[in-house]
């Protein structure tokens, strides 16, 4: 392990200073966004009332209740879901050694979606808190399937095998989901709104339901920087360094199930975050996952929260779902960053 840390330690100080500057700037932006998120919404509430609701809560005042029970949980959920998706994407891209790997492409979201659809059609589930367990079950089944097929054989789970079994699992899940939806208009009506990814109407109950899983997943992800560093060196080198690659991948798999399952359960399958945040984090932080993971932890919530706020404002008083705005807001930024990197190299 010592060898790895010397190999992968950011050698030049300027890179480090730049990373710290990025992290600081992002943290400040995040605090600003949290404030805006509490102040802005379909209901116009004056600033002093919002402040009062937070510091001097009076349950008899409607606006206070609204801030406490709608905006605060929603804002916290945006932060957590963002962090979860960003970290899950980073872990998956490192394990699959592929910039296209993310919970969407590798079938985890599709597994969660399939189970939610089955919950709607077979068990008549309508409540958001009821979706959670189905989403979790689906994410778990998908991860086990993708990893199980990818890991068969002597050489274990190679990145190419994981990528292919993920793509195949995704195709199978989506096919089954569509079959159900096409034959059941009511389920389609319910599902199409969930499927886009939204944070509206999420109250404290959803937050407390997913918090333990997201919390555990985030801690696990942040602690796995070293493991991911060894895995990205390739299996042979990792094994040579004494790393048990199968154990490392299982740890990563558990992390992904916790993060994706909980994030998807809370907000629906939001696609773009897990795909786009990791490359940006790697551009800023370099190859060391002990730095990349904290970057992703801060960048992703900025994207999700900003998108959620924008979604509340652009069609006011109606709302556009966060899953739609994320890509419209983040896509151009992402492309611009990819282009900038191209010029520098």
């Amino acid at each position: 392990m010592a060898v790895v840390s010397t190999v992968l330690a950011p050698a030049d100080v300027p890179v480090r200073r730049r990373t710290v500057a990025w992290l600081g700037g992002t943290a400040v932006a995040l605090v600003g966004l949290v404030m805006i998120s509490l102040l802005v919404g379909s209901k116009a509430i004056p600033v002093p009332t919002v402040v009062d609701a937070l510091v001097d809560f009076d349950p008899t005042i409607n606006d206070h209740l609204f801030v406490r029970e709608e905006r605060l949980p929603r804002t916290l959920l945006a932060l957590l879901v963002g962090a979860g998706l960003g970290l899950a994407g980073t872990v998956m891209q490192a394990v699959a050694r592929n910039p296209l790997a993310d919970p969407g492409v590798l079938g985890i979201n599709a597994g969660a979606s399939l189970f939610v659809v089955m919950g709607i059609t077979l068990f008549g589930v309508t409540a958001l808190t009821g979706y959670v367990w189905f989403a979790f079950g689906g994410a778990l089944v998908a991860t086990v399937l993708v990893y199980g097929v990818g890991a068969l054989g002597r050489e274990g789970a190679t990145p190419v095998k994981i990528a292919l079994s993920g793509a195949a699992a995704n195709a199978a899940f989506v096919s089954l989901t569509t079959t159900v939806l096409l034959s059941d208009t009511d389920a389609f009506e319910q599902f199409r709104l969930w499927q886009v990814g939204s944070l509206s109407g999420r109250h404290l109950d959803v937050l407390t339901q997913v918090l333990p899983f997201l919390g555990a997943g985030i801690v696990l992800a942040l602690a796995s920087g070293r493991l991911l560093n060894t895995l990205t060196l390739g299996d042979d080198i990792a094994r040579g360094l004494g790393q048990n690659t199968a154990v490392a991948r299982i740890v990563a798999g558990v992390t992904v199930v916790l993060l994706c399952g909980a994030a998807t359960a809370a907000a629906g399958p939001i696609g773009f975050v897990g795909l786009a945040v990791p490359p940006v984090a790697r551009m800023v932080a370099g190859p060391d996952h002990r730095v990349v993971l904290p970057c992703a932890l801060l960048f992703a919530p900025v994207l999700v929260l900003a998108a959620d706020i924008l979604g509340r404002v652009i069609a006011w008083p109606a709302e556009v779902q966060v899953g739609i705005v994320t890509a419209v807001l983040g896509g151009p930024v992402f492309i611009a960053l990819v282009r900038r990197r191209g010029r520098r190299q």
């Binding site: 592929n98 910039p99 296209l100 790997a101 492409v105 097929v149 990818g150 068969l152 054989g153 002597r154 050489e155 190679t158 190419v160 095998k161 990528a163 292919l164 079994s165 793509a167 195949a168 699992a169 995704n170 195709a171 199978a172 989506v174 096919s175 089954l176 569509t178 079959t179 939806l181 096409l182 034959s183 208009t185 389609f188 009506e189 199409r192 709104l193 499927q195 886009v196 696609g271 773009f272 795909l275 786009a276 490359p279 556009v320 779902q321 899953g323 739609i324 705005v325 994320t326 890509a327 419209v328 983040g330 896509g331 151009p332 992402f334 492309i335 990819v338 282009r339 191209g342 010029r343």
Partner: protein, 339 residues
């Protein structure tokens, strides 16, 4: 065994796989012509195809079933080939028109047409083709920085795909549930309104594109050794890459315009084709044939599975292709050929 003998054996295997796949495609194709509400026996199908059918079999086979089966065959082949080109061009087993935004571009244009302008048939097809080509052009321009690398093209592609998918989602959540369901059928991919009028443009496009791909196939082989080696061997890499990319996009775009972005055919065909051929190359011909088999077989299953409502073909392409790829991966992994 000498190296030459090994090479010969590998080539023989790849050729044999192609022949078997072609036979399989022909078999499924004939089955689709023969079975239905009124079953026409196989000899009758053959004699009808040869121009000696009765007026009944002429109507059933030539007018009703042939356009649909041919469309399935050609669309599947186009998707399979397009995916095989993109995956080896971009060096990524997850690359396909679905993932890098080509299908999303076609889809966004088509859904906008269906939901916002109430377009049908030819209008949707034209919108989809324009959407696919425009997305590809934009992707190439945005990825251009003193040249284009596969990695940058992929990243720009997923950025564009995400934005375009948002456009689709926006219309899907904002529209009436019935027109959203129409759009879902289109987005899944369907052969329901195949006819000679839609088949002819597709066939013309393939007649133009297939020779172009065949001519560029050697360049693709060379680029498999890496850009530097390929240039060293005298290949004009940027031009070859642009040409191959154009072919792949045109194939996917025309196929999408004809039948919608039939899900997962492009993504699944190439890995299956490569694993069957096992010659280490891009396996263009096997992948093309696998695509054709998947689409015709899935459409047949979609129409004739007892107990299942008649679903669009795209619903079952994933269900038919994906388990097969999973089994193939599992089997070959055990033999140590999976990676």
């Amino acid at each position: 065994m000498s190296a030459l003998a090994v090479v010969r054996r590998v080539r023989r295997r790849a050729r044999l796989v192609s022949v078997l796949l072609a036979a399989l495609a022909a078999g499924v194709f004939l089955l689709a012509l023969s079975v239905g509400t009124a079953t026409v026996s196989l000899p009758d199908v053959l004699s009808t195809l040869a121009g000696q059918g009765s007026s009944d079999t002429n109507y059933i086979v030539l007018d009703r079933r042939l356009p649909r089966a041919l469309t399935g065959l050609l669309v599947g082949a186009a998707f399979g080939l397009s995916g095989a080109i993109l995956q080896s061009l971009l060096g990524n087993p997850l690359a396909s028109p679905d993932v890098i935004g080509i299908s999303a571009g076609a889809g966004a244009a088509a859904v906008t047409g269906i939901v916002a302008f109430g377009l049908g048939g030819p209008g949707v097809a034209a919108a989809a083709l324009v959407g696919a080509l425009a997305t590809a052009a934009l992707m190439y321009l945005l990825a251009w920085r003193d040249g284009v690398t596969g990695y940058r093209l992929v990243l720009v592609g997923i950025g564009l795909a995400a934005i375009l998918l948002s456009v689709i989602s926006y219309f899907m959540t904002r529209s009436q549930v019935t027109s959203a369901q129409d759009a879902l059928v289109w987005l899944t991919g369907s052969l329901n309104d195949s006819g000679w009028d839609k088949l002819v443009p597709l066939a013309v496009a393939l007649v133009l594109l297939l020779p172009a791909v065949a001519a560029a196939a050697r360049a693709l082989d060379l680029m498999g050794f890496g850009d530097d080696t390929a240039s060293g061997l005298g290949l004009a890499v940027p031009r070859a890459r642009l040409g191959l990319l154009l072919c792949a996009v045109a194939l996917a775009g025309t196929a999408t315009a004809t039948a919608g972005p039939i899900a997962f055919v492009a993504l699944l065909s190439a890995p299956i084709g490569r694993r069957l051929a096992r010659d280490g190359g891009p396996a263009l011909l096997p992948s093309t044939l696998v695509g054709a088999v998947i689409v015709v077989a899935a459409d047949f299953a979609a129409q004739h599975t007892p107990g299942l409502p008649r679903v669009p073909v795209g619903v079952l392409t994933g269900a038919i292709g994906a388990p097969y790829l999973l089994i193939l991966l599992a089997r070959m992994n055990r033999g140590g050929h999976g990676g």
